[in-house]
């Protein structure tokens, strides 16, 4: 057989592509359940991290079930719309953030542990420089003070934008206020060079990560503002 002819070359390429595609789809389908589970466990670890509870992939499930006593979704008016635990956990912010504010399902996770007390955990999601950034913010029961925060990123530049995922960046968020004295929603403002230490409404930008920092600021403002009514009512 002439392996140099055009017909042969075209046939060879076509059959190869179909075969490879079949093998890859088969592998992807077989491994999907395990991968989904890994991602769920990671989300549970992230939620726990927002209240400064360290967990390993092995014990995340157990700790989550122990300390997250309640999870529900609210609407923009602050009314609870669903108390289904699994449905709340499965809410995809990527889809929700595209909806109109009135139609959004806003998940809230209630954490309770002796010695720490009760906290509300709110998921957030936004855009960084190269891709999505996301996180969880835990609030004190007063609904205006941040207790802890954790941020993740898909592909921010290591050493620059990706610094938002480091504990050193996340720690100072504890104690910040998202409402001012008059009760107006202010979110947190990005400040280059840090601002005053312990300033309640400002956070320090990442040097060299301006776009990521701005994305983080917008993410906090957009996501937390939709909870405004709920947070006010919980005071």
């Amino acid at each position: 057989m002439n392996t140099q002819s055009n017909t042969y070359t075209f046939l060879y390429a076509s059959i190869m592509v179909v075969l490879v595609a079949a093998v890859l789809s088969f592998a992807a389908l077989q491994l999907k359940p395990r991968q989904t589970r890994n991602i769920e466990i990671e989300k549970k670890q992230d939620i726990l991290k927002a209240v400064n509870i360290a967990s390993t992939p092995e014990n995340a499930e157990e700790l989550y079930n122990q300390f997250i006593v309640q999870s529900f979704t609210v609407n923009a008016n602050g009314d609870i719309t669903s108390e289904d635990k699994n449905a709340t956990f499965a809410v995809d912010l990527k889809i929700e953030n595209k909806k109109k504010l009135e139609e959004r399902k806003l998940p809230v996770f209630i954490f309770k542990k002796e010695g720490i007390g009760e906290k509300m955990i709110i998921p957030i999601r936004g855009r960084g420089m190269w891709g999505p950034i996301w996180g969880f913010v835990s609030m004190e029961p007063d609904g205006k003070t941040i207790y802890g925060a954790t941020f993740g990123n898909k592909g921010e530049t290591p050493g620059l934008g990706a610094e938002i995922s480091k504990p050193e960046f996340q720690k100072p968020f504890s104690g910040k206020q998202i409402f001012d004295e008059t009760g107006k929603f202010t979110s947190l403002a990005l400040v280059k060079g840090g601002g005053a230490v312990g300033h309640p409404h400002e956070f320090d930008a990442v040097s060299g990560g301006t776009v990521t920092s701005k994305g983080l600021e917008a993410m906090l403002r957009e996501n937390l503002s939709s909870y405004e009514m709920y947070l006010k009512s919980s005071k």
Binding site: Y12, V17, A27, N38
Partner: protein, 214 residues
Amino acid sequence: MSDKEPLFSAKNRKLLKNPLSSDNPITVQVLGICSALAVTAKLEPAVVMSLSVMAVTAFANVIISLLRNTIPSRIRIIVQLVVVAALVIVVDQVLKAFAYEVSKQLSVFVGLIITNCIIMGRLEAFALGNKPWPAFLDGIGNGAGYGVILIIVAFFRELLGSGAIYGFQVVPKAFYDMGYQNNGLIILPPMALITVGIIIWVQRSRDKSLIESN
């Protein structure tokens, strides 16, 4: 090339052994440096990366060797790329399912195995002209040659940079109390390049045949 050649004849053993020393893909052929610098800050990702590359070189070599007489020479590079890319995607999916934490640390570098020059180099230079079994050994050998260097570099970087080996703290706390500090510089990629350089230096001073005459 008789069919009765033993599985581990002297020639075949050479295929396994040479890439570990006198024909090492990193220190002698200077291929695959990029990922060697990126994933060697800790031992665990380095080991997983080595195993992944070894699996990909071995199986890609076997597949291309089996197909070598059917591949139209005009599209042979494309065929090689498709085979390598498919294998890398499978490795990536398997890691995501069974070693999620490590796969996050390796991030883009698993995908970048596709562009690792060692793999394409072996396919072009060896698999296209040899039978599957020697091609398999050649793949394992070169994957191991790559892995050995990664593991040596990662060993020193983790020990000096984090005071640990494979995640276990080995530098006792008493040292830190006396003022010892981890070397932050060695965590950065430039120090990996220097470590590779030192390995090349040591290897060449022991094996003079590697030194080019000019």
